[in-house]
Amino acid sequence: MSLAEITLHEAREKLRRREFSAQELTEAVFRRISETEEKLHSYITLSRDTALREAKQADELLRTDTSPHSLLGIPIAVKDNFLTRGIRTTCASKFLENFIPPYDSTTIKKLRAGCAVIIGKTNLDEFAMGSSGENSAFFVTRNPWATDRVPGGSSGGSAAAVAADQCIVGLGTDTGGSIRQPAAFCGVVGLKPTYGRVSRYGIIAFASSMDQVGPITKDVRDCALMLEVIAGYDPADSTSANLPAPQYSASLTGDVKGLRIGIPKEYFVSGIQPAVQQAVREAVRQLERNGATIIDISLPHTEFAVAVYYIVATAEASSNLARYDGMRYGHRASAKDLTETYTSSRAEGFGPEVKRRIMLGTYALSAGYYDAYYLKAQKVRTLIKKDFDEALKCCDAIIAPTAPTTAFKIGEKTQDPLQMYLSDIYTISVNLAGLPALSLPCGFDSEGLPIGMQIIGRHFDESTVLAIAYAYEQSMDWGKRKPDL
């Protein structure tokens, strides 16, 4: 077994017991990357030199043996939309191809304070806009379970890197499913915390009312440990919640007795792949055997979520991306006057999906259409949130599939943007309502592709979500299976 296969919690213990050094662990991860990266293309940028330096520092701290650092010597893959001081940050866009951030995002600061080893920056859909990873301006990351298939998106690079042991843990962002769907497609664990739980400061903004940072990990315990590091109030993010972040790993008891789990009937309808439906239903039965109470619930406005999301998200994106004018950083085209410089810089710097979303969002916000699209969508968003508020009064968490299918083929959905948008059907409502949700493996289809199950919790109740996920993982352990690369 390669050292790179290890989980965060195992590595943490073994590093402390000096079974191996942080430098050995980091070397093992880079060896694994050099063996597999040609097949997968998970990373846009590798920061080998700084990583090895960080590992060396970690080993020095480990020798003193008193360090409380939470991530001491742990190799981490970071999605390339987190600002990392001194490490190129592209957001998978030509516009930012050579951008080197002058500061760290809050999450990266916390990783550095925890003495983590930053391995590199992973591939994503350009500006995190996509459900397959295919919208990267540079290359398409491959699914480790079948390299002719997508890893999911937008955090496809981080999910593939975790699944293929090209890191110990990964970081992603989730605006409409961008952590959970790739985690499901790659057979790993991914958590989108409650909106406001983790600081968004220094994350390249896509849709600010929904963007949220979260971990992608090999198991549920790692997910809880990562959340303990990154959660918490940050004055630099005005939407950051000023609430204490609990010790999430303490909720991993394996006990779900008495917990009430809601199953929304609207999530098990035509269009869902039969193997996905079966696997999730079987997982629910398993939790019932473990002592949970299963309740049928209804989220009546589910069918409107995709329409609401692609109005709200594109409107916010069109506004957020107005900053890319080619004046202070990023791509600047040479043109005859100022307006022409703006237009040419943006026309050259942005890829087709980013342009399509800017167009959609600009249209939805423009004079004459604002009420019909943006305001209407925000009203229906209220109804979607109320559905969840009502449902979560009579259950402690909700279980649903993460995605309607397993990983699809590269190129399968690129010709029809609406079909691609509809593949987000099970994840986007959660972002619209601001709730926490986790995806974890619950089986494989007949082609050996992983299936993900989603556990949705109340606002700021990641503990219950993690507790249910952990109990299920303990009884099944699908996550132990590894892709054959």
Binding site: F99, I100, P102, Y103, G196, S209, P235, S238, T239, N242, L243, E303, F304, V306, A307, V308, Y310, I311, S318, D325, G326, M327, R328, Y329, G330, H331, R332, D337, L338, T339, Y342, T343, R346, A347, P352, K355, R356, I358, M359, L360, T362, Y363, S366, K376, A377, Q378, K379, V380, T382, L383, K385, P417, L418, Y421, L432, A433, G434, L435, H459, F460
Partner: protein, 95 residues
């Protein structure tokens, strides 16, 4: 078609984007298709519904109005497409 080529051109100019005629034609069809899908929202009567504002209704916290970031012009200028004498250099806007 609900959406016209002219509207697409108008929105492109608002967004400071530009498309080739072929891209514009394809985009018009795609956006039209997406906007038609979004019309399903009109099935719902929302006349008495308040628009969404915030997921968890937490208060916006107050903080001291103090400078927390030191001036660092060199770091900020390092990504500038063009610079001169410690300033961002931009295209002329007044003749």
């Amino acid at each position: 078609m609900k959406l016209t080529r002219e509207e697409v051109q108008r929105v492109a100019s608002l967004a400071r984007l530009r498309f080739t005629p072929e891209d514009e034609e394809r985009l018009t069809k795609q956006l039209d298709n997406i906007l038609r899908y979004m019309e399903k929202l009109n099935q719902l009567d929302t006349s008495r519904i308040e628009p969404f504002t915030h997921a968890a209704n937490t208060k916006t916290p107050m903080r001291e109005d103090a400078i927390t970031n030191e001036p660092n012009a060199d770091a900020l200028l390092a990504n500038a497409p063009a610079q001169e004498n410690h300033f961002f250099q931009v295209p002329k806007i007044i003749e």
